[in-house]
């Protein structure tokens, strides 16, 4: 221990620790981007800068080892500024979007990218869940939104924007029409009450989120129906009232109460609300029409747009004449025109400027024209002519466009030319304002103060906090914004809910309680400024048009015009999404630090390095635009994993990390272990998910073991809305540290490919047919009854639960459980009886590690980690793997046995001339074999003869104490359980009248059906020529709860992260066919059984050299172990090949 001073405090720390490590121990958070515990200090990012007294400048805390009496400061203004500048510099060259532009463009900040991806994955409920996180009215908004998102959609650069609004509607419709609709569960009731005035989109939204959070909400609405403008302003043909009502009904699922025909200022006053409730949200909208002051505007037949639409909805008698003029160019004008048209009128829209300047959505104008509505541009009505019977005509002045006004649109100027046109009805829809007169009434004052109102009749509040400044009153929506869109009102409603919750928790709201905004990196501020070149590689794909009623079908009724997407159309459209937002935006260290350090990206303007994304690798996506040159991937690949396929190219600012020779990773020696992805602190390297369209969300973490091979690594499965997003190492590192091999990291994707068995499959003359599980059970029962001989076999790729299940079935059928997958070798005899004293964890106790033949990537890397800590590592193999370069001594030979025998000779005699084929690699140190040597091999990769030679050598070197002995590994996830269960290896199969039930095995040969044989397989996957007559679905390690024994006798656990019902279904089939009893159909029975059996049966006797009985001579050994290639391996390979082909086709 040495003494140092850390931030003014004298402390003791272990010698050799870095400042970063010491700080961590003392709970001081120092940001770092380029450091990893497994690697040597590098010190490139400088965000971990600290000050050490006596040292010039800063030092990197990751790269500085503490020295006695060191005085360290980990934070100060100077340090903070330097870290912020480092982050600012990194981000000034970060050509990337944290969030997709569509999300940022949406006033409601709806996570468009995620829900579009979920629609592409055909997960409608999940899509709706994502939408409702920020937007609770997708049924309505999916119909009426002007879609700010689509205007920023980058797909526009390639061809056309994604039909985002239509997709939202599709998801919401599907959710609504399904047997259940998504409802967010309610938090515990908080015992607080909130009053909301106005049941428009803003008020309802606020109430929705507050009721979700456990607040009791009452909404007061002046009109007879809730929905506000959506109900009274948007005509039926755009938003059917029934849909709106059902939407509001869903919004009230968590107890929001709406009281209609309750008017503020009449039925109750503001102070009353404020006193009675814990908080108030005023969302009264902007529904008062701005009158059109022209001569004759008081004549019968003259209406104001808002009143016209509202009166129709209220069922009032409205006389719409034969010839209708609608004045105005906004959405309300169009709505009035199309409504009047549906009431049988001939309609003309009169607008002061030209079509280009019309604020209405272009597609709405087109729809109006399709319906026969005329457009009269550059026209301004100056007088309605008529008498007490009504309007007869309108005098219109011609206009021309002048200089642009403050909005950038050209100002209309009168020309002095007039014309008179015949109209009997005029609907003026020019603008609306909130109705605010009531707030000037003294009875609505709070603490003697009026609600602050602007000269535009809107409420004046802080645009983020929405607090009026008066007691507990908040206000927003159109009341704050003036007439705007529903989505903007909704955005205010949600913000109000958040702030009211903060207010209620803290008893106040102020600047300090303002939510911190996450850092946003953006490729460009707008679509217009986005560099088009980088989109040139995307293939054009037409936008799917949403089907509509034909014009003639719609002009005489109020049927909804848009028909909606079919499932195929929606998926096709959703798949067009370019996925602009970063997939790791919720777990990116760079972004988190940038947020912590308040980095804005405005300090440095300048060039950014820009590259094409590299999507050539099936599992690893590389986006150099996001690379911060920390080199973690480069170093991990070359110093730990071995291949070293990544490196820096160029110098200076244009330095970039690329695969060797700038090639695609697929053309390098990359072993696809994915460790580079694991260590990347940004989104420069990310996992590609080939199963689903990915999206940047993560909601569930399941830590369990990997079930691909006997190493049984600890993995962390990251799921989002039921999908596995990616697999990585657990937060708390297990024996395998951050290492997961290709199979564990990416191999799981094969478990989802097309040839998986999800339901029973029957062989027919046309190939495999899916059948009902009851039918499967009856076939099974029938064949079982008929068969004379019965065979039950299992593979070493089953969980303990499956093995016990099969054992029980075998006993019930009175046969011995057997396996044909693996041949017995001599080590099975003693390894079944004795626990191996070595574990993967105990490799660290060895002084010397000898790896013979190929081993799993993880074991290799674990040995390498130990070597970096000073252990010696010797490799004996045939291959040319890049990992060989790490060996202290490398014996690259085709004849492993002869090297092993030479080593034995050397071990016995001490004569190093006995070893002929030595290649020294890292040092000149002579080859030695200390007692603390561990030999590691994989029984599937070398012959039994070679295994014999290893044990024989080990017996002359090791004492089988700590860190001394042999570690047998395998490709199989559970060979040790097979040994414990005393399962017969390689039985003779009767070739006639035999019923075979095999679990997880692929029999080498299918028995002939003609001879009365029948084969039932339980398996995860099938092929066209699968050797069975019936296949039952088998769960994988991601689809069942269970256990297995690793090669080093650890009990591995699986927790069914995918919540799959396959295992109970299988049990049900087996029960129905009479193979198990009813009480055994419960999966938990098997878990309990495992616990009982394996705790008892697990060998506790420690292996010692005395107990190891080798065959008398190597001649007794079978020639070659039959290396069974497991089907998963086979499929993995196939799937990889297929993806490669797909890739090249693209």
């Amino acid at each position: 221990m040495i003494k140092i001073t850390l931030n003014g405090k004298e402390i003791e720390a272990r010698k050799g620790m870095t400042i970063l490590e010491v700080a961590k121990e003392y709970g001081i958070k120092i940001p770092t981007l380029c450091h990893d515990e497994e690697l040597k200090p590098y010190g490139s990012c400088w965000v971990c800068s600290v000050k050490v007294e006596g040292k010039k400048g800063f030092v990197t805390s990751c790269g500085t080892t503490i020295e006695p009496n060191m005085v360290i400061t980990t934070d100060s203004e100077e340090i903070h500024n330097a870290r912020r500048m480092a982050l600012e510099l990194l981000l000034s060259d970060h050509y990337a979007d944290c969030e997709a532009p569509c999300k940022l463009a949406c006033p409601g900040q709806v996570d468009v990218q995620s829900y579009v991806a979920l629609i592409a994955n055909n997960q409608q409920h999940e899509a709706v869940k994502v939408i409702k996180d920020t937007l609770p009215m997708p049924l309505s908004i999916g119909r009426v939104c002007p879609a700010f998102c689509e205007k920023e959609c980058r797909r526009t650069i390639v061809d056309e924007p994604i039909a985002i609004r239509q997709l939202k509607r599709y998801a919401a419709d599907s959710d609504l029409n399904d047997y259940w609709s998504y409802v967010h569960p309610q938090d515990d009731l908080k015992g607080k009450h909130i009053a909301i005035v106005g049941a428009g989109p803003s008020g309802l939204t606020c109430g929705y989120y507050l009721s979700q959070k456990g607040y009791e909400v009452t909404v007061f609405e002046a009109s007879p129906k809730p929905g506000g403008w959506l109900y009274y302003g948007i005509p039926e043909y755009r938003l059917p009232k029934e849909i709106l009502e059902r939407e509001i009904e869903l919004m009230c699922s968590n107890g929001m109460v709406i009281e209609t025909e309750k008017i503020l200022g009449k039925d109750f006053t503001l102070p009353e609300l404020s006193n009675k409730y814990d908080a108030v949200y005023l969302a009264i909208g902007a529904q008062k029409a701005v009158p059109m002051h022209v001569k004759g505007s008081d004549l019968p037949g003259s209406y104001l747009g808002v009143d016209y639409l509202k009166d129709i909805m209220l069922g009032k008698e409205i006389k719409t004449g034969k010839k209708v003029a609608v004045i105005g160019g906004g959405n309300t004008a169009i709505d009035c025109a199309r409504t009047a048209r549906r009431l049988g009128a001939e309609v003309t829209i009169i607008y002061r400027r030209t079509r280009k300047e019309m604020p209405a959505e272009p597609y709405e104008i087109v729809a109006a024209e399709e319906e026969g509505i005329k457009l009269h541009i550059l026209s301004s009505p100056v007088e309605y002519i008529g008498d007490e019977k009504g309007i007869r005509s309108v005098r219109i002045e011609k206009m021309r466009l002048g200089a642009p006004d403050s909005s950038g649109r050209q100002r209309p100027e009168p020309t002095g030319e007039y014309e008179i046109e015949l109209f009997d009805t005029v609907i003026a829809a020019i603008s609306q304002v909130p109705e605010v007169e009531l707030f000037s009434d003294p009875s609505n004052r709070i603490d003697g103060k009026n609600i602050p109102i602007s000269r535009w009749s809107t409420v004046e509040v802080d645009e983020e906090l929405l607090f009026t400044g008066l007691k507990n009153v908040f206000a927003g929506g159109d009341f704050r914004l003036g007439p705007s869109t529903a989505i903007e009102a909704i955005a205010d409603g949600r913000r109000a809910a958040e702030n009211i919750a903060v207010f209620l928790q803290n008893g106040c709201i102020n600047d300090k309680l303002r939510p911190k905004k996450p850092f946003q990196s953006r490729k460009a501020k707008s679509l217009k400024e986005t560099e088009k070149f980088w989109y040139s590689t995307f293939r054009k794909e037409d936008r799917v048009q949403m089907p509509e009623l034909d014009a003639e079908m719609r002009i005489d009724n109020f049927e909804e015009v848009e028909i909606g997407f079919s499932e195929d159309e929606a998926i096709k459209e959703a798949e067009r999404c370019l996925e602009c937002g970063c997939m790791v935006n919720y777990r990116c260290s760079l972004r988190d630090y940038a947020t912590d350090y308040d980095v804005g990206d405005t300090l440095f303007f300048g060039t950014k390095n820009q590259y094409f994304e590299d999507i050539s690798h099936p599992f690893i996506l590389r986006d150099a635009n996001k690379c911060i040159d920390c080199g973690l991937c480069v170093r991990t690949c070359s110093e730990i994993q071995g291949p070293g396929v990544l490196g820096y190219i160029n110098r200076g600012f244009v330095t970039v990390v690329k695969p060797e020779f700038g090639e695609s990773l697929t053309k390098t020696a990359c072993e696809s272990c994915g460790k580079c992805v694991t260590v990347c602190p940004t989104g420069a390297l990310t996992e590609n998910n080939t199963v689903i369209k990915m999206y940047p969300l993560e909601d569930t973490v399941v830590d369990q073991n990997c079930g691909f091979c006997g190493t049984g690594c600890k993995i962390s499965i990251r799921l989002s809305l039921g999908n596995i997003a990616y697999i990585t190492h657990p937060e708390t590192l297990d024996f395998n540290l951050k290492n997961i091999c290709f199979y564990g990291k990416f191999g799981w994707e094969v478990l989802h490919h097309d040839y998986r068995v999800n339901e029973p499959m029957l062989k027919t003359e046309y190939g495999w047919a899916k059948i009902d599980w009851r039918r499967a059970a009856s076939i099974l029962k029938d064949k079982l009854d008929k068969a004379k001989n019965k065979v039950v076999t299992v593979s070493p790729h089953n969980t303990n639960e499956e093995l016990l299940l099969m054992k029980e079935i075998a006993e019930r059928l009175d046969v011995k459980l057997s396996t044909t997958t693996c041949e017995k070798i001599f080590t099975d005899d003693f390894l079944s009886e004795y626990a191996n004293n070595l574990s993967f964890k105990s490799i660290k106790d060895a002084e010397h590690i000898v790896i013979v033949g190929e081993t799993s990537q993880t074991i290799r890397v674990l040995c390498r980690s130990q070597q970096l800590k000073g252990k010696k590592m010797t490799l004996i193999n045939k291959n040319d793997k890049k990992f060989n370069k790490f060996a202290n001594h490398l014996f690259k030979t085709d004849n492993l046995s002869s090297v092993l025998q030479e080593m034995k000779q050397f071990a016995l005699s001490g004569d190093d001339t006995a070893i002929s084929a030595q290649i020294s690699n890292l040092t000149n140190a002579p080859f030695t074999l200390p007692q603390k040597t561990v030999f590691i091999y994989n029984r599937n990769k070398i012959s039994e003869k070679e295994i014999y030679d290893i044990w024989s050598l080990a017996l002359s070197v090791c004492d089988f104490g700590q860190g001394s002995g042999v570690l047998e590994t395998s490709d199989w996830s559970n060979i040790n359980a097979l040994r414990l269960l005393d399962i017969e290896f390689n039985p003779e199969l009767p070739l006639e009248n035999t019923f075979v039930l095999n679990c997880g095995e692929r029999l080498i040969q299918k028995l002939d059906v003609e001879k009365g044989n029948y084969t039932v397989a339980i398996d995860t996957h099938y092929t066209d020529d699968y050797p069975a007559d019936l296949i039952l679905p088998k769960p994988s390690y991601l689809k069942m709860e269970g256990t297995s024994l690793s090669d080093d006798n650890r009990l591995n656990h699986y927790y069914n992260p995918e919540k799959s019902p396959i295992f109970p279904t299988l049990l049900q089939i087996l029960y129905e066919s009479g193979l198990i009893t009813i009480e055994k159909t419960e999966p938990s029975v098997w878990l309990a059984k495992t616990e009982k059996f394996f705790l008892k049966a697990m060998p506790s006797k420690v292996l010692d050299s005395e107990k190891i009985k080798l065959p008398l001579s190597s001649n007794e050994l079978s020639d070659e172990v039959n290396i069974a290639t497991e089907y998963v391996w086979h499929y993995l390979h196939q799937a990889e090949e297929k993806r490669k082909v797909d890739q090249t086709e693209v």
């Binding site: 400048g57 080892t65 110098r651 330095t655």
Partner: protein, 590 residues
């Protein structure tokens, strides 16, 4: 015995000026063929501006140095000399001493360059004749390693690579470090623009460096060494190879040198010319076959260097001092220089100075003496504006600081550094912002890309400087430059980054006005920044000769013959051709 010895300077500088053709002409001459004149192929004479150079030594021991010699003239010069009527044209120096130790250079003291331009670099005998390998003999036979280290410490020699760390101490660290295997490395990755002293030493006197390495190896206990030399120095590499080969054959390199237990093997590693590879840890990474990128220190190379073994790295010039110190004693060496900076320093003089070339002066000589007495003063009438020292890591000192003595600490104090010895003299036609931009551009391109501040920070500084030169600068840019500079200095692993902002910091310190003129007045006083320059024709001087109009590449000049011309500013691309072609000084540049 020949009557004359004729030496031809065949350093890279000479070869570039055509010395090879001069040599060929000499070889064909009657005087040489007849044996009246003996030819010697030597290295750089130091007078690089007047290459090719030929020095003649007559029977009386008189040296005459001819400059700007052409192959056509050279035989005439020899013939005339043999006729006892030497030609005086082209004579640069004329003295009883060898030219390079001559009068104008009297302020010089040549320790490092003791053999440069005197011996044939490919001749081991020449080296031996000048006490070559005598120092090695002395150390191996008479001194213990620790005594050698003490001697070096006593001499006060500091690393000539730039940072100026005590050589003796460095050796001591490597000596103390535990390790079965140790290395010595000679850093010959001279990368500063305008610096060429290491190249000249290697080309002209390779054995002195090798001998220095051998002594260092003996002192620290190393048995293997590398000379890391850039591949752009082919002649240096060739001469080194020859020298190593000859030294091996003569038993100075190999097993049991001079019949002692000391053994040593020496390799040449050719570098690809990355500036950062001059940094110790990057250099070692490069030798190991990795990308040349600096590493975190500690551990220092003396503890864990090449392949994890204790390694001592010295620069060429440092090593060239070693044998001299051993032979003449540390006291003799310490006589030269100042209290903290002992011995001499080689400088490469360049820029607007009359005698550009290679010089060696005792530490403590003032800049004024170096420029005006040794370097012959300014080249043109334009007055001295600044002296740039230390290359891209150094700084610009103004005229008012010319009395600063050349030693490590004084220079650092003023904001410059000794560096490897590049010294560029600038006059009023140099734009100081442009100079800062030039060096930033260099360091930015040469940054290895590892440290954030250096990789991106220098780029942003360069962009700001470019903006200022284009007249788009803002006052806030000065603050930004300063805070960037500060953080880059404090937040970089190696010297490249730590010193990259120096050219900006010193120019901001001494020439801030010039920055302000660019930003506030939109003017470049030196007329260098094209965006800020305007060319105009003075009506009273223009005679309407039409030359400028005809030469203008964009036809931006209007005017009829014998009438005053006018430059159309919208069309002018500021190439300056009109300015240069006007014979009547009628065009102004502002």
């Amino acid at each position: 015995m020949a009557r004359l010895t004729v030496k031809v300077g065949l350093g890279s500088c000479g070869l570039a000026a055509g010395a090879n053709q001069v040599l060929e002409a000499l070889k064909e001459s009657d005087a040489v063929k007849s044996g009246k004149a003996e030819l010697k192929e030597v290295g750089c004479f130091g007078y690089c501006s007047v290459e090719p150079l030929v020095e003649i030594l007559d029977e009386k021991g008189l040296y005459t140095l001819y400059g700007n010699v052409t192959p056509e003239e050279v035989n005439g010069i020899i013939e005339a000399y043999l006729d006892n009527s030497p030609i005086t044209k082209n004579v640069i120096l004329n003295s009883a001493k060898t030219g390079i130790e001559n009068q104008n250079y009297s302020k010089q003291k040549r320790i490092v360059l003791r053999n440069v331009g005197i011996i044939e670099p490919t001749s081991l005998d020449d080296y031996l004749n000048r006490n070559g390998y005598k120092a090695l003999e002395k150390t191996l036979l008479k001194m213990k390693p620790i005594q050698v280290i003490e001697e070096m410490k006593a001499s006060g020699l500091r690393g000539r690579g730039g940072a100026g760390f005590s050589t003796g101490k460095k050796w001591e660290f490597a000596h103390i470090a535990k390790g079965d295997k140790k290395f010595v490395v000679c850093n010959a990755d001279e990368g500063d623009p305008g610096a060429f002293m290491d190249r000249s030493v290697l080309e002209a006197d390779p054995h002195s460096v090798i001998e220095g390495m051998l002594i260092a190896a003996y002192a620290i206990g190393a048995d293997e060494g590398y000379i890391y030399v850039r591949a752009e120095y082919p002649l240096a590499i060739e001469h080194l190879k020859i020298a190593i080969d000859k030294a091996e054959k003569a038993g100075f390199i190999g097993k049991n040198i001079l019949n002692t237990p000391f053994s040593f093997t020496l390799h040449i590693k050719e570098g690809a010319g990355a500036f950062v590879c001059g940094e110790e840890t990057a250099l070692m990474a490069s030798i190991e076959g990795k990308r040349g990128m600096p590493n975190v220190r500690p551990p220092y190379p003396s503890e864990s260097g090449l392949w994890g073994n204790p390694t001592n790295i010295n620069n060429v010039e440092t090593l060239a001092n070693v044998a001299w110190i051993i032979l003449n004693g540390s006291e003799e060496f310490a006589k030269y220089g100042t209290e903290e900076s002992k011995g001499t320093k080689v400088f490469a003089l360049a820029g607007k100075i009359k005698n550009s070339g290679l010089i060696e002066v005792p530490m403590g000589t003032t800049l004024r003496e170096v420029i005006y007495e040794v370097g012959g003063g300014m080249k043109t009438d334009s007055p001295l504006k600044a002296v740039q020292l230390g290359g891209p890591s150094g700084g610009c000192l103004p005229e008012s600081l010319l009395d600063t003595p050349v030693d490590y600490d004084s220079l650092v104090d003023k904001g410059a550094i000794m560096g490897s010895g590049g010294l560029v003299v600038m006059d009023e036609t140099t734009c100081i912002v442009d100079v800062a931009k030039f060096f930033l551009n260099f360091t930015q391109n040469e940054s290895c890309g590892k440290c954030t501040f250096c990789r991106v920070g220098t780029k942003r500084m360069l962009e700001i400087l470019t903006k200022i030169c284009e007249g788009k600068g803002k006052m806030s840019d000065i603050d930004l430059l300063e805070s960037l500079s500060n953080n880059i200095k404090k937040g970089s692993l190696c010297g490249l980054g730590q010193s990259a902002p120096n050219p900006v910091l010193t120019t901001l310190r001494y020439f801030k006005d010039e920055y302000l003129t660019h930003i506030l007045d939109q003017r470049c006083p030196a007329g260098v920044c094209t965006n800020l320059v305007e060319y105009n024709i003075l009506p009273d001087k223009c005679i309407g000769c039409t030359v400028c109009a005809r030469k203008c590449p964009t036809n931006a000049i209007d005017g009829k013959a014998r009438e005053v011309h006018i430059i159309n500013q919208d069309m002018c691309i500021k190439c300056g051709i009109c300015y240069e072609s006007c014979k009547f000084a009628a065009i102004t540049k502002q």
